[in-house]
């Protein structure tokens, strides 16, 4: 037979074995593989043993690296095995899918294509999601733009389409993967199964397509690929056609025609779905017509990048991935005693973590796995059975241990390797572009940079430097030697170090642009942050580095940490900075509405948690809490939200009714409520008097006065009402009681500066409040003269 089509399941170990066997038998003189033809010259690297799977072909538009796509290969991928075989046997290999450039040019037409800095995950507009949904189905392809790992979908046939957002998530790197809008006009609905073999398996009642392949295709001893082709022909006859598939298949056929002229024995490895279309008879003109108009060429670049099984499985929660690369690896590399070997490995994982796991455990787990397989009517135990057995026997029902096995074994932690000499990553190219735009040249010498954030260029530079710091590329260090108080000034010390290039390559795993990678990093840090303070700092980073995309994740983390944090002072400490941001925005023109919502959430928690936290405090703790209460009090005032302020004061009022409150706090709260008009002067005076009577211990009384008069003597000197209150109370004390109170008063007043004490004395001696009120005659005309200057200073017009 001159040419044979091997319809495979992407990343299916069963397919990989079958392809290898078939190639050995056929010994073709050329191999065609579904993949981007621009990457042809990279195939030679496969001969290099330093190129260790899992690796991925990374393709991106030369002019815009954010348009990127990955084609991952694991050792058990049929394509990889076929390429390795061909390279080892000196057989030429060609990728024969539609060129990546074709997709790119088509994509440019899509309306959403040029969004500036969309974060890679979440928050997609519906339109985008739809586009992503249609893109994921393109089989090999499907490896291509839609999904980082095509076959991902393998295990759940609907994954790609049902949750397109998830598909994007899998390729956290290629943030443009979403808008793969190859088709003009409205996006087509879901057209065909993402993983047709998986669907066949599901129809036959198998939850693991690999087992179906094993049972049905392999065990039958029938020629596997003919059977698959037949089945696919049937399936396709009843399915709608994706117009984009048709274009791709037309291209594949065109390449096939060319190859037929020069070669006899041709082997074609492609997604099973495409086989019927390739073997069907179509004329060259028919295909040319389909391909017409799609011939525009953009410049694209390809490179090999290391991949991980973790990313292949997109372990972070999204469904779009091969669920169990480690298990597939095991299936591919193990030929006998699959289940016992796997469970022995699982026991090893547990033992490494110090969990005693005996051979008897492994024996019992194997028995249970087999019993389960029998009960479920399956010839052999599969992943579901070994996992259940490992959970019940090896892990003794402990979910954490099972997760450990899941991480180490089912997914695996294998990291691919790429030899030196592979060209730069898109992240580095993006950085170069940003550097040019911001007119900042990397230099190995120290250089000071003084930024005025009111200027656009300087603002852009500041953003870039902050973003790089998020990526652990501290090109610039904030320089605080010359203390400048203006919020619009920022000083940096710049120095480019050679190892930054390496860090960039590392960071390229998080995104193809500086913004996307920094966003991913901040999000990851937010998810990992253990304390509220860390998250608050990250929120600040979001503002400084202009990463609005990361903000939702950080705010969520803030909310989560706030809920978990049992220490109310942590909550209170986070509020003032946030409130300032809400009130004044910042010079960086960030949007702060979301922050306001978080502040309100934090406040609600403070209201609930403050009362219990205020009892049984030591002196130091009371002083600390007093400072926090003061800070929150100011912050609440800054918010300018009357309802919020009322609730805060209600909370404080409720607190003051308690007897067990520390004197310092009781005094402070009385003062705050008095200032806020919640307590009448008479009431406050009554409380002051009560605090200094015989029934109250001396220390408590002193603390009370200290709390009440906090703010220093200066305040007392100028606040007539307060002074009158203290004065009246003092004058009303009977003579014999006065001697008892005196030491306590002295304790507070003794801390005031001499000048302040004298000032207070003079004010009291000079009569109450006369001097103050009499001077307040305003000359409006004179005052108006200062307004223009004030307007200029404050940057807004004042009438």
């Amino acid at each position: 037979m001159p040419e044979r089509y091997y319809g495979i399941r992407h990343h299916g170990p069963g397919s990989a074995r079958a392809v290898l066997r078939a190639l050995e038998e056929q010994r073709p003189d050329i191999l065609l593989v579904e993949g981007p033809p621009e990457a042809d010259e990279l195939i030679a690297w496969a001969a290099d043993d330093r190129l260790q799977p899992p690796v991925a072909l990374l393709g991106y538009a030369a002019d815009n690296p954010r348009r990127a796509a990955f084609w991952p290969f694991a050792v058990f991928s049929p394509e990889w095995q076929a390429i390795k075989w061909a390279v080892a046997n000196g057989v030429p290999v060609r990728f024969f899918d539609l060129p990546f450039a074709h997709r790119l040019t088509a994509r440019k037409a899509a309306p959403n294509a040029d969004k500036p800095t969309d974060p890679p995950t979440m928050d997609r507009s519906p339109g985008d999601e739809h586009a992503a949904g249609t893109s994921s189905p393109d089989g090999p392809g499907s490896e291509g733009p839609g999904l980082a790992d095509p076959d991902a979908n393998a295990d759940r046939p609907d994954a790609g389409n049902v949750d397109p957002g998830g598909a994007d998530g899998a390729t956290a790197n290629a943030d443009e993967l979403d808008d793969d809008g190859p088709m003009p006009g409205p996006p087509a609905p879901e057209l065909r199964p993402v993983d047709p073999i998986g669907e066949l398996a599901a129809a036959a009642g198998y939850d693991d397509p690999e087992r179906w392949w094993e049972d049905v295709v392999e065990h039958r001893q029938a020629p596997a690929f003919e059977a698959i082709e037949e089945a696919m022909t049937e399936v396709r006859a009843g399915a709608l056609e994706d117009p984009y598939d048709l274009v791709r298949e037309a291209h594949m056929r065109t390449v096939l025609r060319q190859v037929r002229r020069t070669h006899n024995e041709i082997a074609v490895v492609c997604g099973a779905w495409h086989v019927p279309a390739l073997s069907a008879k179509f004329t060259a003109t028919h295909d040319a017509a389909l391909l017409k108009g799609g011939r525009r060429r953009g410049k694209v670049r390809f490179t090999w990048v290391p991949w991980t099984y973790g990313r292949l499985a997109s372990w972070q929660g999204y469904g779009a991935g091969v669920d169990s690369p480690g298990w597939y690896h095991h299936l591919f590399t193990t030929t006998d005693e699959v289940v016992p070997r796997w469970l022995v490995g699982a026991a090893g994982v547990l033992r490494d973590e110090g969990v005693d796991t005996s051979p008897a455990h492994v024996i019992e787990a194997t028995r249970l796995a087999e019993a389960l397989a029998t009960m479920r009517g399956r010839p052999l135990a599969g992943l579901a059975e070994v996992t259940d057995a490992a959970g019940a026997v090896l892990c003794e029902g402990d979910d954490l241990r099972l997760q450990l096995i899941g991480r180490r074994l089912v997914v695996g932690e294998r990291l691919g390797e790429v030899p030196e000499g592979v060209p730069t990553v898109p992240l580095a190219r993006d950085l170069e572009a940003r550097q040019r735009a911001a007119r900042l040249k990397p230099s190995a010498l120290d250089r000071a940079l003084d930024l005025d954030l009111r200027k656009d260029t300087d603002l852009a530079r500041s953003h870039l430097l902050h973003q790089l710091r998020c990526l652990d590329v501290p090109w610039g260090e904030p320089d605080e030697r010359r203390g400048s108080t203006g919020t619009f000034r920022e000083e940096w010390a710049l120095r480019w170090q050679p190892e930054f290039s390496i860090r960039l390559v590392e960071a390229s795993g998080y995104g193809t642009t500086v913004v996307a990678a920094a966003t991913t990093q901040v999000e990851a840090a937010a998810a990992k942050a253990a304390t509220l303070a860390e998250v608050t700092a990250l929120l600040e980073t979001c503002l400084l580095a202009d990463l609005p995309g990361a903000r939702p994740a950080v705010l969520r983390a803030l909310d989560a940490r706030a809920a978990e944090d049992a220490d109310v002072t942590h909550l209170m400490a986070a509020i003032p900075a946030l409130a300032r941001t809400v009130r004044y925005g910042d010079v960086r023109r960030s949007d702060v509405a979301a922050v306001a919502a978080v502040v309100r959430g934090l406040l609600a928690r403070v209201y609930a948690a403050l009362p219990p936290a205020a009892s049984g405090l030591s002196d130091e703790a009371a002083a600390g809490l007093r400072d926090h209460i003061d800070a929150v009090h100011t912050a609440v005032a800054l918010l300018g939200d009357d309802a919020e302020r009322a609730r805060w004061l209600d909370t404080l009022t409720a607190l003051t009714t308690r007897d067990d409150l520390h004197g310092l706090l009781a005094g402070r709260l009385t003062r705050l409520l008095h200032d806020a008009g919640r307590l009448s002067t008479g009431d406050a005076g009554l409380r002051l008097g009560r605090a200094l009577t015989a029934g109250v211990s001396a220390a408590t009384g002193a603390a009370w006065v200290e709390g009440f008069l906090a703010g220093g003597g200066l305040l007392l000197m100028h606040d007539d009402a307060l002074l009158a209150l203290v004065d009246d109370w003092l004058a009303a004390i009977p003579a014999d009681a006065f001697t008892e109170v005196l030491p306590l008063l002295r304790r507070t007043f003794g801390t005031f500066a001499t000048g302040e004490r004298r000032g207070i004395g003079e004010r009291v001696a000079g009569g109450k409040g006369k001097s103050r009120t009499s001077t307040a005659v305003l000359d409006h005309e004179t005052a108006a003269l200062s307004l223009p200057t004030l307007s200029a200073l404050l940057g807004r017009r004042i009438e």
Binding site: E364, R367, M375, R376, G397, D559, A604, R605, P612
Partner: protein, 353 residues
């Protein structure tokens, strides 16, 4: 039948008979049903066989397969996750007898697991088989049935270890009579333990190794839990002969929401994180809150289940620790309940409760 609560094998005798009649798969020795039929009995078939356990099929399969491979089964879970319920029904379906039960307590003696003596006879006749008082476990061994041990971790460690020989050698020596009792085919042990109490009397690793462990989780989804609560509430209402109340699905939905949110530490829309109270907030408690609310509504109210009827019950289940749980509850009320549309009546009732 006047028993307050009939045994599973009596209550569901018809279902068991129907399953046995249709069951043509091979049965392990000593089993009344095939493993597949046991799973069907537990999970229901959507028709005549009612579901006894609502939840993961995989867990039930592992449990049944464990018993079929001659390994003892340990059901773990927080209180109120239907451990005892599942073990009773497994015993009923497999050996048709769920009464061979040892309740584990701190005072459970070794005799409860091995055997005791009828001392009058012992003194009168000396040691003889007739003077031997078999434990439920011993009777299960003799008849080839399933024995159940409840709350295994509360049993003192030395008593627990009496199970080791029984489970590994499947025999129980009686040195006083110089004889032994060998377990008949079909014998097995189902133990339950509460994993919140782990550490009361942690199983020795030798004993632990004889058990396969199945952890029964709290219901995975809202609908599943709502289903469990409404189903059980209806059953209980019938068997307690409560006066008819209008079953307010909305109110039950609310109770389930509160329980789920506080248990998982986040709101159902996953937007807000919450603190969890010290109690377990189990489904079983949710059921009793609703039942209690229905009794309140029927006897003291207007017969319609309202927010006020369930609020006090909820507060009682949440606040187990008067200090820290009160903060949790207050915070939940203020941050979540207060702003939730349509929950104003519940907010008021809960605040006043």
């Amino acid at each position: 039948m006047t028993a307050l609560r009939p045994h599973a094998e009596e209550f569901y005798a018809e279902e068991l008979a129907a399953l046995a009649a249709d069951d043509d798969r091979s049965r392990p020795p000593g089993w009344r049903l095939s493993p597949q039929a046991v799973v069907t009995y537990l999970l229901g078939d959507g028709g005549k066989i009612t579901p006894k356990y609502v939840g993961s099929r995989r867990l039930m399969e592992v449990a049944v397969a464990t018993l079929a491979t001659d390994r003892a089964l340990l059901l773990l879970g927080v209180p109120g996750t239907a451990k005892t319920w599942v073990s009773e029904h497994l015993a009923a379906a497999i050996s048709g007898d769920s009464t061979l039960l040892v309740q584990g307590t701190a005072g459970t003696p070794e005799e409860a697991i091995r055997y005791g003596w009828n001392y009058a006879r012992l003194l009168a006749e000396g040691p003889s088989p007739a003077a031997l008082v078999p434990s439920p476990v011993l009777r299960a061994m003799e008849t080839g049935a399933i024995a159940r041990v409840e709350e295994l971790t509360r049993v003192p460690s030395d008593v627990q270890d009496a199970l080791i020989t029984i489970l590994s050698e499947k025999t129980l020596p009686v040195p006083e009579l110089n004889t032994e009792v060998q377990a008949q085919r079909g014998f097995n042990v189902i133990a339950t333990a509460n994993d919140r109490d782990r550490g009361v009397n942690e199983l020795s690793s030798a004993l632990r190794r004889r058990f396969n462990t199945v952890v029964l989780p709290v219901p995975a989804t809202f609908d599943e839990e709502l289903d469990i609560v409404t189903r059980r509430v209806a059953q209980l209402g019938r068997s307690l002969d409560l006066p008819e109340t209008t079953t307010a699905l909305d109110e039950i939905r609310r109770v389930v929401t509160v329980f789920r949110e506080l248990r998982s530490g986040q709101t159902d829309d996953a937007r807000t994180k919450l603190k969890s109270p010290t109690g377990t907030m189990s489904t079983a408690e949710a059921i009793s809150v609703v039942t209690n609310g229905m009794a309140l509504a029927a006897h003291f109210g207007d017969g319609v289940l309202r927010a006020g009827d369930v609020a006090s019950g909820i507060v009682g289940s949440v606040i187990k620790d008067p200090v820290s749980d009160r903060v949790v509850w207050r915070e939940y009320l203020e941050t979540v309940v207060r702003e939730r549309p349509g929950w104003a009546d519940f907010y008021r009732a809960a605040r006043d409760a």
